[in-house]
């Protein structure tokens, strides 16, 4: 039972009686993975999808009225997320750059798509996107529906010209019927592909790390984790003799990010203007969206260009190498080049950040590749 109610959890229930149907759906999906010869004809789970999340995550999100989350939509979106037919070479799927085991990143500094050329920026973790209002490192997209079409069409990612991926899917035996089930007609379009992908992405909720258990009072911190948390949450103050890295100012809260854009002092002269490219404001030069630290131990390398291979390297940056450029965040000590954390303080912070790993999220069978090699062969005409 993956969707058992937990204390303090909210469920976006459209119809709670559907819970049982959904459970059957999960069994169906698991069964689908095992009995591939039945996959295409299996009854697909249908009905409203119940999004479950802790009350502390809050309800500040909107789901477009023309794309409500349904079980059949999520089912289709998941198939599409793992579908290489979406790329011009039929070799790259969303999951090529967003792998579940790495909390939906790819382990590379810069990703590689259909052309073999690298992307401009580091692949982002796809976690708790339900709440993200400004997607991408520079916040340039405002909906998951719209965002999904960007990698689809981008020459260096999936390289599909408008509606070519849709045409490729139309020729399969699997997809037209599924699109009919979800959208009422079997016409496949890029817009519908984007909608189904968005539905699946909204379900990628991570709320079961040891940190979440600590917040619920069901996990006891070790001494090192406690010290790490203290440093994470405190702004340093010489006068009051407080040590800290002020991390929570930007990466705080139950979801482990605040949706704000900052220059965290990587370069004195930036090479990627980041947020400024979108807003045109000089004050935005070198600012990027604060990424979530959920599953941060799994998503190396770090920063928008993947420049740091380890969390140690990240802490060395915040500790000693903050560049005092003109748009450096007010919350970071540019004058002193960093927080000057001791070796022990760094290891305490790292111990604390390991609490953010949610192993049920990266192992959740609902988020795994649903395709099976046997029915793949039949599917492509």
């Amino acid at each position: 039972m993956l969707l058992l109610r937990r204390p303090g959890f909210v469920s976006m229930t459209i119809n709670s009686k559907k819970m049982r149907v959904w459970t059957l759906g999960i069994i169906g999906i698991i069964a689908l993975g095992m009995a591939s010869w039945k996959a295409v004809d299996d009854p697909v789970p249908t009905g409203p999808y119940t999004l479950q999340y802790p009350a502390s995550f809050g309800g500040r999100f909107t789901i477009p009225a023309d794309n409500p989350t349904t079980q059949e939509g999520v089912y289709l979106g998941r198939l599409l997320f793992y579908e290489p037919l979406l790329s011009s070479t039929k070799t790259i799927s969303c999951a090529s750059c967003h792998q579940q085991a790495r909390a939906f990143t790819d382990g590379l500094a810069l990703s590689v798509g259909v052309t073999g050329k690298t992307t401009q920026r580091n692949s982002m973790s796809l976690t708790n996107l339900l709440w993200v209002r400004q997607l991408f490192w520079d916040g340039r997209s405002n909906s998951l529906e719209e965002q999904a079409l960007v990698p689809l069409g981008h020459a260096d990612e999936m390289g599909s010209k408008p509606n070519t991926a849709a045409k490729a899917l139309q020729k399969t035996t699997l997809y037209p019927a599924l699109f009919r089930l979800v959208f009422g007609s079997d016409t496949i379009t890029d817009v519908r592909i984007g909608k189904a992908l968005a539905q699946f992405e909204r379900t990628l909720i991570s709320a079961n790390s040891r940190y979440d258990h600590y917040l619920l009072g069901t996990y006891q911190l070790t001494e090192s984790e406690k010290r790490g948390m203290q440093l994470f949450n405190s702004a340093p103050s010489m006068e009051r003799n407080v040590r800290g890295g002020n991390c929570a100012h930007c990466h705080g809260g139950p979801k482990l990010y605040q949706e704000v854009f900052h220059n965290n002092g990587l370069d004195l002269k930036v090479t990627d203007a980041g947020r400024q490219v979108i807003t045109g404001l000089a004050l935005d030069n070198g600012r990027f969206r604060v990424p979530t630290l959920r599953n941060i131990a799994l998503t190396a390398p770090y920063m928008h260009d993947g420049r740091f291979a380890t969390l140690e390297a990240v802490l060395n940056h915040y500790s000693e190498h903050i560049q005092n450029g003109p748009t450096l965040s007010h919350e970071l000590p540019g004058q002193t080049s960093g927080f000057h954390l001791t070796r022990n303080e760094k290891s305490d912070l790292i111990a604390f950040m390991h609490l953010f790993t949610d192993s049920t999220f990266v192992n959740n069978p609902q988020f795994a590749d649903p395709h099976h090699r046997v029915h793949r062969v039949h599917r492509v005409k």
Partner: protein
């Protein structure tokens, strides 16, 4: 001749670069928008704000020290944009709130009534100077100052927009 032209060009472009730099980092290029449930949505340049009547507020900042902030009362800005204040602030208009956004994405909220002097005893200002000088990089060009508020978390920095909305 050639050398001369080259020099002028260099000086010109250097001047331009420095000018642009000053313009942007000192903050003069930053506009302020007032939108939403108002009859005259506005985009104000820093010169427009400079020209408005300023009020001084002396208050303690995070550093624990007193500073004198000078700025335009929020109520004056909202009046200019035609928000429902004074005698119009009643009935359903009392469910209106004001969202103030910063360049970095930070957002805070006041109930419209918190800003109206017929309700509130304190005057919330949009400051453009502190202790007689411009606001620091990362704080300016504009910052909200709420006199008497114990925690300065609604003293939002780098203000870029003010939006009036109905609670729905």
């Amino acid at each position: 001749m050639n050398v001369l032209i080259l020099r002028t060009k260099t000086i010109f472009s250097a001047g331009l670069t420095i000018g642009l730099y000053l313009l942007t980092f000192v903050g003069h290029a930053q506009a302020l928008t007032i939108s939403g449930e108002v009859s005259k949505p506005l985009t104000l340049q820093s010169a427009d704000l400079k020209a408005m009547t300023h009020t001084d507020v002396t208050a303690k900042d995070r550093d624990g020290k007193d500073h004198t902030y000078s700025g335009v009362p929020l109520v004056d800005l909202l009046k200019q944009a035609g928000a429902t204040l004074g005698s119009e602030l009643r009935g359903e208009n009392l469910t209106k709130y004001v969202v103030i956004k910063a360049i970095d994405g930070y957002e805070i909220v006041f109930a419209l009534a918190e800003i109206d002097p017929e309700f509130a005893t304190r005057t919330i200002i949009l400051a453009d100077t502190v202790d007689g000088g411009p606001l620091a990089q990362g704080v300016g060009p504009y910052r909200v100052v709420v006199p008497g508020e114990k925690k300065p978390a609604r003293w939002i920095r780098e203000v870029k927009s003010i939006d009036v909305r109905f609670a729905k």
